[in-house]
């Protein structure tokens, strides 16, 4: 336990970058450089925080010197710090791809600044130590995501955005009511104190429902395939990589605080249903984006089951793998749509000849999603299966889900990439500079998925960060020394 301002500094950076982007909104080049260089700087700061937390232990910022059980505080535990690094990396990689695809009009409407608003909310949610502050950070990231969802304003986006906004508003009300009831019952909202008292069933039900909706666990997942496909692919890449993960982490943090253990079972059953619905849902889809959205539902199912069985190390691996692989696959989907002018992957032809690099990116990311070596996904799925070894039903379920993902991905490969055909007309061409940005953004995700696969063998930062997670955020007050 170290008291330092570092977590708050890492949190404030995306807010500062968002403000800079808004301030120079009329000067396109300046915004581009601010968002790119700022993104690199933020990633460096987040990595620094994670390394310091790894070396010295959990770091705490108490805003204004108020005791953290009453005032606002930020706690960077190993898992939270690692998630911030993940968020900064995704933000940068997907941001590069967005730079490649955005037109002048979209950039003029504050796109980059809005993504940093979203990142600000996501980081806050990862670092907060208090149930009500978690609600506030959810709202911050939701507002950012609402605007990004309808950014561009096509009819489809508005319709998809309407569903997304409504569902999230309802879940916010549930979350807020859950907070209020928790405070009424226990007189505290700090995670540490709640871990000692326990949240009773009434508010627990509201909180679990709200988080299951945010994480998109069946039966509360159907908004995702309905709304995500409407937004541009670089926006969905950001959403699918980060937003559901915030819900997952909130579930991991709060489930241990509940008095009744039945909620673990509820989440576990939700996870089983998610794998089934997601797997069978993705097989039937012709629209590539809807297929990937259903696959997200099935992957969240794996995470939910790991949370329900209290395996934080596995949760960390699964979250990192899914964020990288799914973020990358949505970018690949965007490129496939751009090159062929089709949204239905069964109508796409001959992509392997036209863009070998894209083919490789797709193959690696799809392998990681399904859980094939030599990718991080293999280790994530391997760990998942080995912790379920004494539950044959779950092992079979996990293998079936993985097989369904693999089937879907192979189907896409065979039809869109491997089938030769006359060159389809691209819906738009990228300039050389933009193509380069896209390659770097997408390439860094592919490299990360492969490079991290060596880490479970060598030094294992992800699994270690997950394993360091022990329910309540900070140990009890006895061993703490304040400066």
């Amino acid at each position: 336990m170290i008291y330092t301002n570092l977590p708050a500094l890492v949190l404030a950076t995306p807010l500062l970058l968002a403000c800079l982007c808004f301030a120079f909104a009329r000067r396109r080049r300046v915004v581009q450089w601010v968002s790119l260089l700022g993104g690199v700087g933020w990633l460096a700061m987040a990595a620094n925080l994670a390394m310091q937390v790894h070396a010295q232990g959990t770091m705490v910022t108490e805003v204004g010197g108020w005791d953290r059980h009453y005032g606002i505080s930020f706690v960077a535990d190993p898992l939270g710090a690692m998630m911030v690094v993940l968020a900064a990396f995704i933000q940068l990689a997907v941001g590069l791809a967005a730079h490649a695809r955005l037109d002048r009009k979209a950039e003029a409407f504050w796109y980059h600044g809005l993504t940093y608003c979203l990142a600000f909310g996501v980081t806050g949610a990862f670092l907060t130590a208090d149930l009500f502050n978690l609600f506030v950070w959810f709202e911050v990231l939701l507002i950012g995501s609402f605007v990004l969802m309808v950014h561009g304003g096509s009819d489809q986006q508005l319709a998809g955005g309407m569903k997304y906004v409504t569902l999230n508003l309802i879940s916010s009300v549930m979350f807020l009511a859950g907070c209020g009831l928790t405070y009424a019952h226990t007189g505290t909202l700090s995670f540490v104190q709640l871990a000692q008292v326990g949240i009773p069933d009434g508010p627990a039900a509201l909180l679990v429902l709200a988080f299951m909706l945010k994480a998109s666990v069946v039966p509360l997942a159907f908004w995702m395939p309905a709304s995500y496909p409407a937004a541009p692919t670089y926006t969905i890449a950001l959403f699918s990589a980060l937003l559901t993960k915030v819900g997952c982490l909130a579930l991991l943090r709060t489930l241990g605080l509940l008095q009744n253990e039945i909620w673990f079972t509820v989440l576990g059953i939700g996870g089983v249903l998610s794998i089934l619905v997601g797997s069978f849902g993705l097989i039937g889809q012709a629209n590539l984006r809807r297929m990937l959205a259903f696959s997200s539902v099935s992957q969240v199912g794996y995470i939910a089951i790991a949370i329900a069985l209290q395996q934080p190390a596995v949760v960390a691996l699964l979250i990192v793998n899914h964020a990288l692989a799914k973020g990358g696959l949505f970018l690949v989907a965007g490129e496939m749509e751009r090159l062929t002018g089709q949204t239905n992957y069964r109508d796409m032809r001959g992509l392997a000849e036209r863009s070998p690099a894209l083919t490789w990116a797709f193959a690696v990311l799809a392998a990681s999603l399904a859980g094939l070596p030599p990718t991080l996904g293999f280790f994530a799925k391997w760990d998942w299966l080995s912790t379920m070894a004494d539950r044959p039903f779950l092992v079979i379920l996990g293998l079936v889900g993985s097989a369904a993902t693999l089937y879907g991905m192979v189907d896409v490969y065979l039809r869109a990439f491997a089938t030769p055909g006359e060159a389809q007309e691209a819906s738009s061409e990228l300039s050389r500079r933009r193509q380069w940005l896209m390659n770097v953004g997408l390439g860094s995700l592919v490299v990360a998925v492969v490079a991290l696969s060596s880490s479970p063998v060598v030094n294992d930062p992800v699994r270690e960060a997950g394993a360091a997670f022990k329910g309540p955020l900070v140990s009890t007050a006895t061993e703490e020394v304040k400066p």
Binding site: L142, A159, G161, M162, L176, C179, G180, A230
Partner: protein
């Protein structure tokens, strides 16, 4: 008094849910607004809705000895009201825009055109 508040909160939640289940988008908005206020009122009641002095430490003392109003619940409500207001303003504009571009007023009609290409 608390019992009365409890009934009012329950009634507001009921109205909110009823409105959300209606077809027109405007009623959906109203429903969300009512639900938000119901949640705010519930936090207010949860801290004990009594007439108490503000939590100020009198001159020359270290701690408050007399009963005071709970500042944490009040801080929560203020925050929640501001957030709810902002989010609702966004939702109103969104509904207006949906109505403008596609001339629809019912939630069911939204399913047309998304992902069906």
């Amino acid at each position: 008094m608390d019992a009365l508040y409890a009934v009012v909160v329950g009634f507001l939640f009921a109205i909110g849910v009823y409105l959300i289940l209606q077809r027109p988008l405007v009623k959906l908005l109203l429903g969300i607004a009512v639900l938000g206020n119901a949640a705010n009122l519930m936090i207010f009641v949860s801290s004990g809705a009594r007439r108490l002095p503000p939590p100020l430490i009198p001159d020359g003392e270290k701690v408050v000895t007399t009963p005071i109003a709970d500042p944490i619940a009040q801080a929560q409500i203020l925050t929640a009201i501001v957030i709810g207001f902002g989010v609702l303003a966004f939702a109103v504009v969104l509904v207006h825009r949906v109505h403008q571009t596609s001339q629809i007023d019912g939630f069911d009609e939204l399913t047309e055109g998304v992902g069906t290409e």
